[in-house]
Symmetry: C3
Subunit: 273 residues, 3 copies
């Protein structure tokens, strides 16, 4: 079976960045198949990229995950290759928090190597490490190369982690539970994924929602089909997170919420973990 | 030769949906080559997706066509795999009219199987059948699997068909023919494809056009090169449909038309079929 | 190693054009791997496409470069296949200036063939030469076919060249040099690439910039990391051109410049060539 490289970035598809990274990968790992996860991560949005990688990671299988959202390119931030417990076995990219959630989802970090700087073109500014550093390293791993040949080992505890807005739960006088959390992702269809694992929905059948000073009562459903068209629901989505949805409608525009906004849920909710 | 899977959806390219579907396909059909037709179909636009598939289908060759525009995901709508007379031999997706025009273009339906529901993660809502149902089924067909193993046979006459706005022709007193039809597609360049087969242009050399209360006289041409720059023409386009074009210009913005708008043509036109 | 076809166009990704070209390529060259460089070139923007190809070309390696930005499709403009000194060895596309800068970057033109018109579907207007002419020719080259089988030889000096806005340098009384040049590319991150080779920055440490009546003093830096966040710099970018950058910011919106705008640099600058 040909080795896989899974590729994600904030490069967009208008410039040639993604194509050039593909070209470098297939030059250095001729048997590799490159699978694009997304290049539509907002420019410099490390947190959005990290969430995307964590959602995708469990579904990829063997290979190398190469991810580039890199506002610090050309500074002293490190490039790293991370070996994890699960598969894909290797994660390659900048050490800015982009890779760490995916590494956790994949069973945790086994080993980290800081990538040695590329020697090519030292008279040029380093503005395209995707081409010059990360793709060559990912290709070497995809072609069966050894992690140790890419640089020197570093302590996993020194990896940069992103700050996370925590979720809180408190019990109300009437026995219901109020949970405050964050909008983590809004997909193309306007489904609003919250930073809550699916089991928080517990035994609730109806949940009060407050987002941006708007209230709504949402039914907890097992499928879109349980909702009337255009009505609001809560469900355990395809990543087993809690999501606010509207059947054949756009929940995000209904509540006018954006990623990072706080949302409150009130109902017969389960524990946060 | 490695098997092909042709993939189209309304997933867009900003989220990881397309990448995860690719990953599932190459895990389950390691030799398959996945060719993206488009993921820019407007969200939930089943008719636009059906037209896109019908245009593309004759040019694809052997393989499996996997298409997902699925406003009814998580309801009782069926998933189907359709075997057709031509190639690609199999079409996989939701039974909501998305696949039927392509099946007709490919010589017609031979056999239909309703896909058995996926067993994975029954505690989650079904919001991502592309990943959990359609891609696994398409991969099994691409890997040489048997249609019968995917579910039970259903009657082809029960497949959901889209409503079509019919075209009408009437003869005028002066012997010319007036045809009323619909804008079926506006491409990136603003070319306006009508729901008329190319032969309708018949022997006409000049055709009167009425769209959104604007009139124009269009020359019937055999090539863009027959038009002055910026002038309006009618031609038999690359799908052998009638198209309104402007040489090095945008016909759709010239007439301010959108998909679904009605257009009238008057001239020495041929029969509709 | 499987042959590569590198593909760029102004087709966008909303329609099925790119997917159909892929399908034709893999039908006619079953072993080929197709690498998309970009399909986000602005419609009909031949100059923008030429610049993109010239930037990407040195990084691609062996294969065929297929590029389509073709406002003249269906006119008398020629289709060509160009053999160059370097690799990718073949460039295929319209003869409108799109390919020539890349050919120069790849060591220069060896041989040019004018592609024979496709015979398929002569009753249809030629509106999709990507599918009907260029992809079949590129596939034949990728599959090991001979250039001579695609058409007849033409003189390389007859290839259409794009007009270039020249850069000018003049020495000031104080010994500094004033260079007037053009914005050649603005990437997704707002970095502003100028039509100047990197060595023009010479020994300068600070350079005065005038763009759209705005002045700024820019530090010449070897890396983004040498800049304070949000400050303006000049550097030799990943294509070894001079670029105006803002660390973790958008230089193009800072100066409100667009491609084609004139920019003046004043400082201890080196010669233009």
């Amino acid at each position: 079976v040909s080795p896989r490289v899974f590729l994600a970035s904030d490069y967009g598809l208008d410039d040639e960045f993604v194509g050039v990274v593909h070209a470098v990968l297939v030059r250095l790992a001729p048997d590799a198949v490159v699978v694009d996860l997304s290049h539509g991560i907002a420019p410099f949005d490390v947190a959005g990229g990290a969430a995307l990688l964590a959602r995708a990671a469990p579904h990829l299988g063997p290979g190398v995950l190469l991810a580039i959202v890199d506002p610090g390119v050309g500074t002293t931030r490190r490039g790293v290759a991370i070996e994890v417990v699960g598969e894909p076995r290797y994660l390659v990219g900048p050490d800015n928090g982009l890779l760490l959630d995916a590494a956790t989802v994949l069973g945790g970090v086994r080993r980290v190597v800081e990538l040695a700087a590329p020697k090519a073109a030292p008279h040029l500014a380093r503005t395209f490490d995707g081409r010059d550093l990360f793709a060559p390293c990912a290709a070497r791993l995809a072609a069966g190369g050894d992690l140790a040949d890419l640089g020197h080992d570093v302590d996993a505890s020194t990896l940069v982690a992103l700050a996370v807005a925590p979720s809180h739960a408190r019990e109300l006088d009437d026995g219901r539970v109020a949970v405050t959390t964050t909008v983590r992702w809004i997909d193309r269809f306007g489904n609003v994924q919250l930073a809550l694992p699916g089991h928080v929905l517990g035994r609730a059948t109806t949940v009060g929602l407050v987002a941006r000073d708007e209230d709504a009562l949402a039914r907890v459903v097992g499928a879109f089909g349980d909702l009337e068209r255009g009505t609001i629901g809560l469900l355990r989505d395809a990543n087993d997170a809690v999501a606010i949805v509207v059947r054949e409608g756009n929940a995000a525009s209904r509540f006018r919420v954006a990623v990072g906004d706080r949302v409150e849920l009130v109902g017969d909710l389960g524990p946060l973990d």
